[in-house]
C-alpha cells in the first residue's frame, strides 16, 4: 500500500509498503492544504505507482469535491485492470465563504482603489453574517449582510483611499452554520505606490502638463529647454521634442517626437496619416488603452536597434519603441501627440502615466493576491542569491531564485514575505483560496470517472491491518495462562 496526500498536486507520504508502522507514520504526516483537490493528478499518479502491481486498487478518500473531468482516465483504469474505490468522508454541512477578494488601484487616480468581495452561501437556508474589512489590521468597513439560500453576492467598496498596505476580509456568520473556517478570511495586498521624480523638459505643452498633474504621486519638475538642468537623479525624464544635453542628470527617458539628433535610435523616415496597425498587447505602456482608435497626422518611423522592442507600429514603420542604452532605459514615441487625436482621448494621460510607471520601475501590477495551489513566480532581485520565504504560519524557508524569479507552489492562504539574506523584507504578497467549489461542504457519495461510478467498497472499514504474529502471541499468551490452571487442577492430566 502507498499513501499519498491529495491537494492540488499529489504528495506520496509513504513508499509502497505493507508495514503498518510505515503506513501509520504516513497518515500522521497528512497535512491540510488550502487548495482544491487535483483528482485527475492524484489518480494519474496512483496509476503510475501501481504499474506492474498485482490486483491494483486505488482507494480515494475524499468528500468528492473537485472540478476536473476524469473521463480520460477511464480507459487507463480499464486497460490496467485497476479497481477504483471511493470512500466519502466528512458530512454535508452549511457554509458561508469569501469566494473572491481583490483590490485594484484606479488607472487614472492611483491614490484610490476599489475592493471586490464575493460571498457565497453554500447552504439551502438564508444566512446572516457580518463582514469586516481591515486595513493593516484595523477595521475600515464593517457591514451586516443577509444572504439568500445559495446566493453569490458581489460587493464593491469604491473610492477607498489611505495608506493601507494589507487588506483582510473576514466574515462572522450568526449561528452554528459556518463549518469551514479557512474560507472566512481572505487577504489582499494593495499594489505599492512610490513617488516618482519626473523631469519634464518641454517648450510648452498644455496637454503634457495637464496629464502630469493627474497623478498626485508624481514629483514633477517642469523646465523649458533653455533653463539649466538640475544634476540630481530623476526616475523619469520626459523630453518633449527637445534636443538638450542632459549631462550628469540620470534617469529613464521618455522621448516624445524626438529629432534625429536627440533620438536614442535612428529615425527611418517621415510618415503621415497613420495609426496603430500592430501593437504589443502585453506591453504595460498600452495598458487600458485602445490603440486602434488613435489617428496621427504626421510623425516618423524609427529603425529599432538590436535589443529594442517595438511596442507600436503602422504599416509605414514602427513609431513606439522601448529599449535600453548604456545607462538608461527609454521609450520613444515617433510623433507629437498634439498632431494626433490621442491628446483628445483618455489614452493620452494613461499612456503617459503608464510610461512613467513602467520606466520608473514601480510595481505596476494590478494583482493583489496569488491563488493557492498555483505555482507562484515571484519577482526577486536578479542579484539575490537565495532568498527566504516566510509563510502565513511564520515558517521560513530558503529558496534559490532563477533569473530574478522565485518559483514556489504555495498551498496556504495568507500573507507571505520575501526576505533577503540579511532578513530584510524585499516584498510581500497575499495568497487566497483558489477554488470556490472546495467551500461547498456537500459530500459526494460517488466518484464518477467516465462511465465508471465508484462508491464505498463492500465491508470497508477504515482500520489498519494487524500483523499475524501479534495475534499468535496473544493467543499463546492466553493459552499459557489457561493451561497453567488446567495443569495445576489436573483437568487435562
Amino acid at each position: 500500500m502507498l499513501i499519498a496526500q491529495l491537494s492540488q498536486t499529489v504528495l506520496p507520504l509513504s513508499v509502497m509498503s505493507s508495514d503498518p508502522v510505515v503506513l501509520q507514520d504516513a497518515t500522521r504526516n497528512l497535512r491540510g492544504a488550502h487548495t482544491k483537490a487535483g483528482m485527475e493528478t492524484g489518480i494519474q499518479f496512483a496509476l503510475d505507482a501501481l504499474a506492474g502491481k498485482s490486483a491494483p486498487e486505488i482507494l480515494v478518500i475524499s468528500d468528492g469535491a473537485h472540478d476536473q473531468a476524469l473521463a480520460s482516465l477511464e480507459p487507463l483504469l480499464s486497460q490496467n485492470n485497476v479497481q477504483l474505490s471511493y470512500v466519502a468522508v466528512s458530512k454535508t454541512s452549511p457554509n458561508v465563504a469569501i469566494s473572491a477578494f481583490s483590490v485594484r488601484r484606479y488607472p487614472l487616480d492611483k491614490s484610490r482603489y476599489e475592493v471586490m468581495l464575493e460571498l457565497t452561501n453554500h447552504s439551502d437556508d438564508p444566512q446572516t453574517a457580518r463582514i469586516t474589512i481591515s486595513g493593516d489590521g484595523a477595521p475600515i468597513e464593517v457591514n451586516p449582510i443577509r444572504l439568500a439560500p445559495r446566493e453569490i453576492l458581489l460587493r464593491f467598496y469604491q473610492n477607498l483611499g489611505g495608506g493601507n498596505e494589507t487588506l483582510e476580509a473576514s466574515i462572522a456568520v450568526e449561528g452554528n452554520t459556518d463549518h469551514l473556517v479557512v474560507d472566512d478570511h481572505a487577504f489582499a495586498l494593495l499594489p505599492e505606490r512610490k513617488r516618482n521624480k519626473v523631469l519634464a523638459i518641454s517648450p510648452g505643452n498644455t496637454y503634457l502638463e495637464a496629464a502630469l498633474l493627474l497623478d498626485e504621486y508624481l514629483d514633477v519638475t517642469l523646465l523649458e529647454p533653455t533653463q539649466p538642468i538640475p544634476t540630481q537623479a530623476f526616475d523619469v525624464i520626459v523630453l518633449d521634442g527637445v534636443d538638450v544635453d542632459l549631462g550628469q542628470t540620470h534617469g529613464a527617458r521618455l522621448y516624445l517626437n524626438p529629432s534625429p539628433t536627440s533620438a536614442p535610435l535612428p529615425i527611418y523616415k517621415p510618415i503621415a496619416d497613420f495609426g496603430f496597425d500592430t501593437w504589443n498587447r502585453k506591453s504595460p505602456l498600452l495598458a487600458f488603452i485602445a490603440p486602434e482608435n488613435i489617428q496621427v497626422l504626421e510623425g516618423h518611423a524609427f529603425k529599432p536597434q538590436p535589443g529594442d522592442q517595438v511596442v507600436g507600429a503602422s504599416e509605414l514603420g514602427p513609431f513606439l519603441v522601448e529599449g535600453k542604452r548604456d545607462d538608461y532605459r527609454f521609450v520613444a514615441l515617433g510623433f507629437d501627440p498634439r498632431k494626433s487625436d490621442m491628446v483628445l482621448r483618455v489614452a493620452w494621460p494613461l499612456f503617459l502615466l503608464n510610461c512613467i510607471q513602467h520606466l520608473g520601475q514601480r510595481d505596476g501590477s494590478d494583482y493583489s493576491s496569488f491563488a493557492t495551489g498555483d505555482v507562484w513566480r515571484l519577482p526577486v532581485p536578479a542579484s539575490a542569491n537565495g532568498v527566504s520565504l516566510v509563510g502565513p504560519m511564520g515558517t521560513r524557508t530558503v529558496h534559490p531564485s532563477r533569473s530574478g524569479v522565485l518559483t514556489y507552489a504555495g498551498e496556504l492562504a495568507g500573507f507571505y514575505e520575501i526576505l533577503d539574506q540579511d532578513h530584510t523584507r524585499l516584498s510581500r504578497f497575499a495568497a487566497n483560496l483558489k477554488d470556490t467549489a472546495e467551500s461547498d461542504l456537500t459530500v459526494e457519495t460517488q466518484l464518477t470517472v467516465g462511465e465508471r461510478v465508484s462508491s464505498k467498497p463492500e465491508g470497508f472499514q477504515p482500520r489498519t491491518r494487524r500483523e499475524l504474529w501479534v495475534l499468535l502471541v496473544m493467543t499463546a499468551l492466553t493459552a499459557l495462562f489457561i493451561e497453567w490452571f488446567s495443569y495445576h487442577r489436573r483437568i487435562t492430566v
Binding site: 476599489e114 496603430f276 495462562f481 495445576h488
Partner: protein
Amino acid sequence: MNRRLIFASSVLLTVCATGAWATLSFIRTFSAQGAIAATFNGVSYELLQPNYLALVWLAPLLWFGLRWSLTDLPLIQRALSWLTRGALLSLLALALARPFTRDRSEAIATAFLVDVSDSVTDAAVAEALTSIREHLALAPQDAEITLIAFAERPALYPLPANPKEAQQLLPSVQALRQPSPTGTSVRSGTATNIQAALQLAYGVLPSSKLKRVLIYSDGAETLGDVASEAGRAQEFGISVFAIPYTVPPPAEVAVRDLTLPNKLVIGETFKIQTRIYATQASKARLQLFQDAGLNGLGGTREVELIKGENSFEFQSVVRVGGEVTYRLELTPLGADRFKENNTYSVTVDVPGRPMVLYVEGQPQRASYLANALTAQQFDVDVRPASAFPTSVSELSRYDFVVLSDVPADQISVGSQNAVEGYLRDLGGGFLFAGGVAGYSLGGWEQTPLARVLPVDMDAPQHKQMPSVAMALVIDRSASMAGLPLEMAKTACRATVETLRDDDLVEIIAFDQEPTRYVKLQPARYNTRIQNDISRIQHSGGTDFFPALDMAYQDISVAQARKKHVILLTDGRAEPRGIHDLVQAMLAESITVTTVGVGDDTDSDLLRMIAETGGGRFHLAPDPNSLPRIFTHETEMLTRSTSVQEWFPVTQTGSADFLRGVAINTAPLLHGYVATQMKPSPAQELLATDTGDPILARMRVGLGQSLAWTSDVKNAWAIEWLRWPAFSTFWGQLVREHMRKKSHRELDMQLSLVNNQLTATVDAFDDQEQFANNLHATLSLKSAASKTGETKYPMRQVAPGRYQSVLNLDDYGTFTLHGEYYRENDDGELVRMGDSFGHVSNPYPTEYQTLEGDAERLEAAALAGGGSLNPTAARLFAPQGKSIESRKYYWAHVLMVALVVFGLISLLRRVRLFDRSFQ
C-alpha cells in the same frame, strides 16, 4: 475457604488491577512527553506499543493456580515453575510492546529519472544510460537503485536494488522508450513532465535511506513545474540533482509562429511574419495558404535556413470580411525528424465593411449612388421597394439605410415603424431621398416615416404653388369598346375635377392615329372639357407612339412647373422609338405614368415606359379601378410641391462630413421637392438659393435621420453625377451618420501555458471606472471544427477584471469572442462591449521547445538542494547527513520466551527437588 485466603486473593486481584491501571497511566503520561525508553550499555531501547506491558500484571494471578495446585511437585519446584511461567508471560508482553532501538543510517537510495520524450534523441538516452552505469560502478554496496523513465508520464523500471547487479541489468535505449514492462498507463512522448517523475520517485524511495534523485533531461519541460516540485522534494528530505543532455537535438525544422497584424482592414495589404527554427542549417519550401487557396500575394517560397531562429515575411490582403485562416506549410528540403511542427495555422476575424441598404424606387437607376458608396469602401445592398425589410432585426444588419424615390404605398406601415425602431433603438442612420415619388409626391404625408424626418412635407403657404400640365393619352381602339372606354372617360372626368383651376390639361385619344379631344387648357373650363370627353368614341387599332409624341410636343411648350403624361391602353404597340421618346420627355422633366387595362396589355413595354419616364405603371384588369388610379395619380401630382428647375446648392449648416467637400463647386441640381424645416433639433445643412431645404438632419433616439429633397440619380441630380466630389460627399455623409457601435471593444489578454488557456479582459465604463457586475461569456471556436462554438462563463476576479480559464485539449487555431452585458434599471441585459482574440495551439509544445534548458535543470537542482552534473562521489556521499531507522527486537524476545518455555517443560517433567517418591 477461610477468610484469610479470601482476603489474600482479594488483595492479589486488587494489586494486579491497580498495577495494570498504574502501568497504563504511567505509559500514557510518559508517551505524551516522549517515547518510553530505557538505556542499557549506552543503547536506548524504546517501546513502540508500551500498553502491552500491562499484561505483565497477569503473572501474579498465576498464584491462584499454584495455591490450589493438585500436583505433587515440591513447593520449591512449584514456586520455580510459577516464576518461569510469569517470566514467559512477561516476555510475551514485552514482545507485544515491540522494543526497538534507533539507528542512524548513511545509506543512499537513488532514483535515476531519464527523459525519453520525443525531443530527446536515442543518443542522448544512451548518454544517460552510460552516465548511470558510471555512477553505479562507484556506488556503495548498501546503495539502493531505482530507474524511472519519463515523458508525459513516468514509468518505473524494475532493477535489482544492488548497484552492481543493477549495473548489469540496465535496460536498453529502445526498452526505455517503450511503455513500461510493468504495464504502466499509456505514456506519450509528446510532452515532458519532470514533476510527475519526481512525484513517483517519492513513492519508491525507501524511508530508511538518504534519498537522492538524479534527473537526466534536456530541461525542455512542457508540463508541470520541476523547480517548485524540487523545492518541495527538499522539504521532504530528498536531494535533487540533474545532468542536462549534451547530445544536440535531432535535425529538425519547426514553424514556431505565424504573426498577423492586430487589425486587418479589407482591401489593405499587410505583412505576415513567420518564425522558423532550425537545429542546423538547411533549406525548406514555405507555402502560405489563405483559407483553402494559396496566398495571392506570394504563396510559395524556397528559403535558406540558418541554425537557430529564422524570420520571413509574406504579404497578403483580405478581400472579404469574416474569419480568415492562414496556414503555413513547411516542406523540409533537408533532414527533419518531426512532421507535426511543419504546419502552423492562425485564424483571424476580419471586420467587414460598413453595410448600406439602398432601396430605390427606380432600381435601374440605382447604380450611381451604389457605385459612389462602393468606391468609398461600403458594401451596398441594392433592393427594390418590394424587398424593403419588415423588421428591426432585419434592418439591424445594416449600418445605414437609404430609401429613395419610393411611393408610400409600396412601404408597409410595419416597415416604416421598423425604420423608426432602427433609428431610435439601434442608433442607425437613415436617408430619405426625393424624386418623383419622394415626400408628398409619393404620398408620404402623415405616415410613420414622416414623423422621423427633419423636414415637414406640408408645402409652405407663402410659396408660389407650382402649376401642373397633364396630358391624358387614352386608347380608344375597338378593343376598348364598352366598359373599358366608359370607365376611361370617367377617369378623365375625375382627373379634370381633381386638378386645380390653373392647372393645364390635355386629352388625346388614339387608335392608329391620335386625336386631340381636349386641347391643352386650364382645368377651370370643366364643363367644356367634360363635353369634349363625352365625344370620344371607339374605333380602329392601337398605335400609341404618335399619341405620346403629340402629348410631348404639346406639353413641352407649356408653362408649368410639373408636366405629366398618363398613357392608358389595353393593347400592344410597336415599341420602336418609344424608349428614346420617353427619355427625351424626361430630359424635359415630363414624367410618364402608364396604365394597362385588361389581360392583353403589353405589361413589359408599359413598365419600361413608366420606369424610363420617372412615373408609375398600373395594371388594371378591372376597368372599374381606372377612375381611382387616375385620381390618385392626379392627387399625387397636384398635392406635391416638386420644383423642377436648375438651381445652385448652398451650405447653411456645419457638419463634419462636409469638411473637405467644397459645396460651392457643386453643380446645379435640377429639381427637388419643396418642404420646410421642422423646428430644432432638426438642422438644415444644404438649401436652395431660395431657401428651401435640400439636406437636413435630425437625431431620432440613438440614430440620425436625414432628408435629401432632391434625388440621387440621373434625373434631378444628373449634373451632380459628374461632380468629382460626388462619391466623397455621399461617402462622408454615410460614414458620419451610420450606426455607431454602442458598445466598446475591450482588449483581451490571452495566455496559453501547458494547454491551459487563460483569457483576461479589463472592462471600464464611460467614466473610465471599473465596470463591475457584467454578465460575461467567452465563446471559443475552432477553425477546424464544424460543431460551432463553445461558450464559457467569465468570472469577475477583480474590480473590472473578468477571466476564464479553460483547457485546450485540441490542437489547431481558435478564435475567441467575449460578450459583456450590463443589466439596466428594467432588469434587461444591454450589451456593453465585445472583445476578440485568436490563439493557436498548432502542435504539442514538445515539438516546439527543441533547445535544451539547462538553466531550468540547474534551478531545480538548486531548489532541491543538489547540484548540476554531480559526480558519483557527490551523489552517493551522505554529506554529513544521516537518516534514522528503527531496529525491532520483538523476534529476539520471542526467542528468549521460547527458551523459557523449554525450561518450563523441564520443570514439569523433571523432579529437581525432593526426588524421593511420596
